[in-house]
């Protein structure tokens, strides 16, 4: 099946920070930023993935996320929610798994078209866009 979009990302503090703020019920605030960053650093450290790169490839029927140690193919029907932040699309796979797609990491397809594509695939599950209070 044809690859529609492809993204390359690094597991780092930024990725986990955006997962932390995406997982919260209320919008991020400047007051809570230090705490969110601390939580992100703790998650990154416990993940043992720091500095590793991964690729995400989106096709019509499914998408794949791959790094040197694991490749997973996901069915869009398994997505439970999508949250957009200023730098990432955060796909909620279940209560504890989030898949981050970095907006600046597209090397195939365009980010704007990807947003429309993701909306088409799971628009009902799109929660909200977190744009305010972020740097």
């Amino acid at each position: 099946m044809e690859t529609l979009f492809a993204v390359r990302m690094e597991y780092g503090v930024e990725m986990y920070y955006h997962q932390v703020i995406a997982s919260k019920a209320s919008p991020p605030s400047e007051a809570g930023r230090a705490s969110d960053e601390k939580q992100a650093r703790a998650l990154l450290e416990s993940s043992c993935l720091e500095g590793m790169y991964c690729n995400a490839v989106f096709r019509e029927g499914s998408f794949e996320v791959e790094n040197p140690e694991i490749i997973t193919e996901y069915d869009y029907d398994g997505i439970t929610g999508v949250q957009e932040t200023s730098r990432y699309f955060v796909i909620f796979w279940n209560r504890s798994i989030m898949i981050s797609i970095e907006k600046a990491g597209f090397y195939r397809g365009h980010m704007e078209e990807f947003a429309a594509f993701l909306w088409r695939k799971c628009g009902k599950k799109w929660q909200r866009s977190l744009q305010e209070h972020e740097n």
């Binding site: 043992c48 694991i70 997973t72 996901y74 069915d75 398994g78």
Partner: protein, 191 residues
């Protein structure tokens, strides 16, 4: 992603998620977490409290009162720590029950694990993965349940009794050899 030929799998596990297994896994993970830090804190507080109370009993005057008060506070915090651990476990069981009831109609409870010489595959209703053994961060046995904690803190788990192609202990030894990790043991009640 094309799956590998199942015929080449050394071990295959058919795993069905149940609420009982989720509670069992949660109990084991909590006990492991408590063992690694909380137990030391609670023990230290209890010991300090006991020593302060004893010293307070043996001494006279203001020192006695101060030490007696400090001892009581220390024991109070130790008891509070233990209570919060039990309370958290009870709340977790409730949360697991609610989540399990909410999601049991999604039809996403059947998983298959296939262990090959170079990697293992995990097959669920909405996802399939091929994982290198070096991606495993921790290997844990929780009273008859094997838990593979992958990097990224994703936990794969199944009962040793569900292993085919060999025994659960043989698979555990295979995983130790392939991952280079030592199996950690945690005993929990219930299974």
């Amino acid at each position: 992603m094309e799956l590998l030929n199942e015929a080449y799998a050394r071990y295959v596990v058919h795993h069905e998620v149940t609420e009982e297994k989720l509670v069992h896994l949660d109990s084991g993970v909590r006990k492991l977490g408590f063992r690694s830090g909380g137990r030391r804190i609670v023990t230290a507080l209890a010991a300090a409290g006991a020593m302060a109370l004893t010293a307070g009993y043996l001494l006279d005057g203001i020192m006695s009162a101060v030490l007696f008060f400090a001892g009581c506070m220390s024991l109070f915090w130790a008891a509070l720590g233990l209570f919060s651990v039990f309370n958290a476990a009870r709340n977790a069981r409730k949360a697991i029950h609610i989540q399990y009831e909410k999601r049991k109609n999604e039809g996403n409870h059947a998983w298959e694990y296939r262990f090959f010489d170079d990697c293992y595959e995990v097959i669920g209703r909405f996802e399939k993965s091929r994982v290198q053994y070096r991606h495993i961060g921790r290997l844990i046995e929780i009273s008859g349940m094997l838990a593979l904690v992958e990097k990224g803190n994703l936990v794969r788990y199944f009962m040793k009794s569900d292993v085919t192609g060999g025994s659960g202990d043989e698979l555990a030894a295979f995983l130790e050899q392939k991952s280079g990790l030592k199996l950690q043991y945690v005993r929990v009640r219930g299974r």
